[in-house]
Symmetry: C2
Subunit: 362 residues, 2 copies
DNA sequence: TTGTATGCGTTATCAT
DNA sequence: ATGATAACGCATACAA
């Protein structure tokens, strides 16, 4: 009969027996047994910077390799209180801009040795229900590309889950956040277009419940008001291509004619507006009508468009968000740092950005 | 002195003490204490379909509510061997097509009560390293929008992690998968264009390491060969906009003139090719040159383009993938079901799809 | 450096 | 229907 520990047992046989016979997954105990060390020794081998002798490390690693052992994150997180997981809250991608953000954020989160757990939602108003799902996963932190209410932010704090708000400026609350100043961006675009001599504006704003959309709209409106220009014609869309054409028609109906310039709440609507103007209304853009958007999504740069738009430095923002969250995770005491990025004007060729030569000059 | 359990103690005080005093997170024990039941009773209340009396259920839930208790998924998964998590392997989104797939897949995974853990990679060849990360998270399953090697598939099996391959047809292996037949799609497109009288073709294929890209290319090439048409001029791109222009230039250089039709490995390259042809080479598309792509990404449908392309039913595919994985998770015995979807031709207006009126007809 | 023993928070098994 | 108790797989304090 084989005793429990025959000194010269075939380790290969042991291993095969352990792994093949049972349905069980291999644990650190299995590795320990095979390597002839204690379970804690195995554990230490997988903890960077733990004190293990070279010899045991080698034997443990060999055994682990042989068994295909990988530490169980669930068990580990139970004791370390770290899941190496970050919740990524993001509203659905009809925007064509979120995919880029999503990809960048995922990338950056990975750089910090964590993985993104994806929580997509149809509308930003679904955040509430989503959050309840988030908690049980014991994420180390949350990056929210959505507007949270004060109560929701408070709950994050209460649960001691670090939170970084991405691309949303929650003015009054002191939560960590990374964003472009959309209000300022709206002002900037309006100012630039006004300086070029445009007087009658149209604005195709994004959905009313979107903070980004309303900031952009407010910024533009306020600036135009300050400059003493006529009130802009206003239409609302839902950030999609079709909204651009629809918004343009509404604005023309309101004014009885095409405006001098149209500011769209994002690029996709701007492209829709542009195409409708050019291909269906036969308007000369930018000769008769200037069109501008926000985001500098990839297609805005294509030869057929070359859209005038404001770029957000998404990559830098994603980097900042991940870094900020990581620092918050490491030192939960950290204050509510806000990192503001400046949008960059892409001049493009769909808006006239210099004054027309005047008749006087002739 | 207060005893351990004073019958008429202030439950509110107890609760505050428990939650405020310590840094600890609230556990089912806390809830049990507050509700005056055993911990296992609490556990049962959070398990759908367990046998609990209405009375205790109510008291437990009230206590849980008061404490903000949420079951800890890590602890749960340790014993249930379910993390309610699915790994989503996806190569980076320069493709402009993956974002849609990603969003849909996430959506559908959620429908099954699970969440997507995101593993993005720069290139499909990174799958190997990524997989090692995947295992430790104890995911319930894997959806891979990338090509896996036989060894990698075998490892999934060995670890008993259900796997569904998305949008990749691994011909020889019997792994569960959901895909369009890209080879057939390539043939279909080539056949249709050839029937319209195009003779000299150019192909701007996607990256050589992409299975999808090479299937499309092979399909088109094979069909042209079968039809006895001249060998197509071939260029390779990396699925991005710039590759379209670059590929077109290469092909023209090879042939000494523009081909009759160009088949591009995806829409983004097709749009790049189209724009280059129209705006820089001043070619009439589809008068002098037909251009077609694959995927029917959103911009392909915009007024400026109206691209001839083949649509993949991504939503249906995502639904199928999630369902398939879910069934595999519930019944690991399941065979390697494959679900093939047919691409749908979007006729568009960038390729001539009917024969030219012949001189004879005049 | 190494091994022993304990606990993380839950579910599951078994009595009652 | 309910409560005691034993896992689940790992990390850590402590003793050696």
């Amino acid at each position: 009969m084989t005793k429990t520990k025959p000194p010269q047992a075939l380790s290969a046989a042991d291993q095969k027996a352990a792994i093949l016979r049972e349905d069980r997954r291999v644990t650190s105990y299995d590795v320990a047994m095979l390597a002839g060390v204690s379970q804690s020794a195995v554990s230490r081998c997988f903890k960077p910077g733990a004190s293990v002798s070279k010899a045991t490390y080698a034997r443990v690693m060999q055994a682990a390799e042989g068994l295909g052992y990988i530490p169980n994150a669930a068990a580990r997180s139970l004791i370390t209180r770290r899941s190496n997981t970050v919740a990524l809250l993001i509203s659905n991608a009809s925007n064509l801009y979120y995919p880029e953000a999503l990809s960048e954020l995922s990338q950056q989160i990975t750089r910090h040795g964590k993985r993104a757990l994806l929580f997509t939602m149809q509308s930003e108003s679904d955040v509430g229900e989503i959050l309840n799902d988030v908690w049980q996963y014991q994420v180390d932190g949350v990056i929210a590309a959505a507007a949270l209410s004060e109560a929701q932010i408070a709950e994050c704090e209460r649960r001691r889950v670090p939170l970084v708000v991405f691309n949303r400026h929650l003015r009054d609350s002191h939560v960590a956040s990374v964003f472009c100043d959309q209000y300022e961006a709206g002002r900037m675009l309006a100012a630039r277009l006004a300086a070029a001599g445009h007087r009658q504006f149209g604005i195709i704003a994004g959905p009313e419940e979107s903070v980004v959309a309303s900031e952009r709209r407010r910024g533009a409106s306020d600036k135009l008001l300050e400059l003493g220009l006529p009130a802009p014609a206003l239409a609302y869309g839902c950030f999609d291509y079709g909204s651009g054409a629809h918004g343009l028609r509404q604005i023309i109906a309101q004014l009885g004619r095409a405006p001098d310039a149209i500011i769209c709440g994002n690029d996709v609507m701007a492209l829709g507006c542009l195409d409708h103007a050019r291909h269906e209304l036969r308007l000369d853009v930018p000769g008769e009508l200037s069109v501008a958007g926000f985001d500098a999504v990839e297609p805005s740069n294509w030869l057929s468009y070359n859209l005038t738009t404001l770029r957000q430095p998404i990559q830098k923002m994603a980097l900042a968000a991940a870094d900020l969250l990581a620092s918050l995770i490491d030192a939960p005491c950290g204050g509510a740092e806000k990192r503001v990025f400046a949008p960059q004007l892409i001049e493009g060729a769909t808006a006239r950005l210099t004054p027309r030569p005047t008749a006087l000059a002739a």
